[in-house]
Symmetry: C2
Subunit: 441 residues, 2 copies
């Protein structure tokens, strides 16, 4: 019971205040853009969880303790919010309006080994648009705009580092590989995806040994992956490599549209990066990855892409485009290191002192009048000496203590007579606010 469970981070109450405010901010931004919330159950069928190749080893199986001996486990905890969303869309399609705009902020679970930025239980904030049968290309522009708006607000309001979103397009890569004569472009993509992890020499080796590619073709692939521009200059650089294919043309045009239109509305936050691959195989067009300035080692804190065939049933297909923000990955390091702290560790703004247990009811009634005006208030648990009651407030960061008909700011010591039906705390004291520790020194 004493040993902490590795990979299952939990917050102290003060840290949780920041997390709550960050989640409220994300929710507000998504809703301002007309996305509605859904929540799905924590469990999915093992069948749908193990459909994709790479990930099945990480699933947590769920079974009743007293399930009949030898019975097959049929349920597992979801490891992302995309598989449950696809199931939700199919299950409730008849009740949804398409294109369907949803966000979803929930925990997910993976049994993988914990390390920095990777947890066994973690919080994701996903935002997707899904169409029925078709979905217009301009949503590939809209989704990064919504996500960058959300992350920019976290930067402004919480001091989260600024981000860079790196974008590529699967059609561009696949068309390029096909133009080179590669038979299995996905196999190339999966190896190029490891460039960051293993470096160019290992990838070169793997492309030669596993796929039998020529040195010239490998060079072209690595040159493609090295292209990175913050405008549409990447188009000319790809053309200069001399490869042609119809799918490459489509990919170049789609990526150019995304970069151009996003950069026009949010300058300095988006780049075309042709090394971005994304491991999961359901993406079919635009793919996104995002890093925080100075915290690149954490990996991508917001990833996603366009999928043309995630959910299919009979004649109905549901193409979509979405991004997922790794809330735990962003917040846990900042909160754990105490970089981001709340102005106090409780919601309480006013502590109403108690003279003696016999007058507790009067203190309760005064507190109720403050609460009726939206001021978070608690009543001292103990009719102790005033010094002890002030200490109670001080240890929690509660700024005001109410004595009889006056209120004391315990930071300045200033005490003024006050009417509970009209007195107001200063706006910055009303609720806890986030403070960047390096700024508050």
């Amino acid at each position: 019971m004493k040993k902490k469970l590795s990979g299952f981070p939990e917050y102290l109450p003060g840290e949780r205040i920041i997390e709550q405010q960050v989640l409220a901010s994300l929710q507000h931004t998504f809703e301002l853009h007309g996305f509605g919330s859904i929540e799905t159950r924590a469990v999915e069928s093992m069948e749908s969880l193990t459909r994709k190749g790479e990930i099945d080893k990480e699933v947590y199986v769920v079974q009743r303790l007293h399930a009949p001996e030898g019975s097959q486990a049929e349920l597992g905890l979801h490891f992302d919010l995309t598989v449950p969303f696809a199931r939700y869309v199919l299950e409730y399609a008849g009740h949804l309006e398409f294109p369907f705009r949803r966000y979803q902020i929930q925990k997910a679970w993976r049994g993988e080994r914990p390390q920095e930025g990777r947890y066994r239980e973690f919080l994701q904030a996903d935002v997707d648009i899904v169409g029925q049968g078709e979905l217009a290309a301009h949503h590939d522009v809209e989704l990064p705009l919504v996500t960058l708006d959300a992350l920019e607000r976290l930067h402004t309001d919480f001091g989260i580092p600024p981000v860079t979103m790196r974008v590529n397009n699967r059609k561009l890569s696949e068309g390029f590989y096909r133009g080179l004569g590669v038979a299995d472009p996905m196999a190339v993509l999966q190896r190029v995806d490891k460039l960051d992890k293993f470096g160019p020499e290992a990838v070169r080796q793997s492309l030669a040994d596993d796929l039998g590619m020529s040195a010239v073709a490998i060079d072209a692939c690595l040159q493609l992956a090295s292209i990175k521009t913050d405008d549409t200059a990447f188009v000319a650089q790809v053309r200069a490599l001399g490869v042609t294919h119809e799918l490459l043309d489509t990919g170049l045009a789609e990526l150019a549209a995304v970069i151009e239109q996003v950069a026009a509305e949010v300058p300095g936050r988006i780049v075309a990066d042709l090394s971005v691959a994304r491991g999961l195989d359901y993406y079919t067009g635009t793919v996104y990855e995002t890093s925080m300035a100075g915290l690149e080692s954490l990996g991508s804190i917001s990833s996603g892409g366009r999928y043309d065939s995630l959910a299919t049933e009979g004649k109905n297909t549901y193409p979509g485009v979405g991004l997922s923000i790794g809330v735990s990955r962003i917040l846990y390091p900042l909160l754990g290191k105490g970089v981001l702290v709340p102005s106090r560790i409780v919601p309480t703004c006013v502590l109403v002192a108690v003279d003696a247990e016999e007058t507790r009811t009067a203190s309760n009634q005064l507190a109720a009048r403050l609460r009726a005006r939206g001021i978070p208030t608690e009543v001292s648990p103990d009719a102790a000496k005033y010094g002890k009651q002030i200490k109670y407030a001080d240890r929690r960061g509660i700024p005001y203590v109410w004595f009889g008909d006056s209120v004391k700011d315990i930071r300045s010591g200033e005490q003024v007579s006050a009417d509970p039906d009209s007195w107001e705390p200063s706006p910055a004291d009303w609720w806890p606010i986030p403070i960047r520790k390096d700024e508050s020194a």
Copy 2:
């Protein structure tokens, strides 16, 4: 994939809007009373989950799919928020301020057979105060006041039925049984707890057959359980049964204080009901149960009590008192039957029309200006005929469509010229609001 998973309710986007607003309301009330939020991980050790007697059959075990063959499952999903809270208090005691006031709104899981009001995955909202070593009796008054405040706000703002909280005290029952000469008062309590379920004859039989109690003693127990008053009149009624015991005196005094003080602040919502027992064995004093008017068959929608020994470690004990609100039990029937609906099924207040794909950027920029002023806005996904764009808004209940330099209320058809930097929707249209269906006819 098509078959719904029984016992795991999910909401449609419109229903989820109501749930979100109800949760925000609960959160607001708890924070106004100075309770801070925590969240605990979804899993606990099987050891702590199976410690209590009756409930272990309902635990969901969690194990990695590729856990080594034959390895013991060590984790399970929590079945309530009390066991995780007790573990959290012990684990982080050195970082918490006591008395510690926390609320916790999370899902819990039980493998039991689903039925009305009982789900396998359900949402609870718990509120507790925990002391270190000791906790004053007045918190037994504070907790029902906080909970009734929260439920009253749901009644006022969402039309949730008014509630009645029924209160008893374990010391009262145990003292009474001991005064009757009963050796194992818990055994009597567990049987009296089944009065609602099996009726007085079955309970009488069980007390006689299992515990060998005399007819006179059984009569006294059933008479005690039949006492129910909305003031402190219960004290005289218990005294009239002629049983005496020191613990009975303590219980009567504690219960009288709770009834008197709560009724004084919230008239008509609390009664002393000496049949209330609560199955779980960790309560040691006051116990609470709550029913909604007209929906008594759903069972208790908010239960809890005082516990003097939930969490103990070495010399430290952590007595507490808390209540749990069954959010799923309250909401799912009302939302499922369409009694409570949102004024629209999306957050969007304004749809900005698009003339032609070439002018989409202008529409995007106009939408951004409205969002910058906090107005939830989306841009039409399709540069179709205006009639089709209006239909898009109408199907979702979006009240306004913006065309060029004018805005149309699509309900009244009224169209006025408007400036995106100053126009405001009517307050009732800004965000979706809850509507009681029987009132909106």
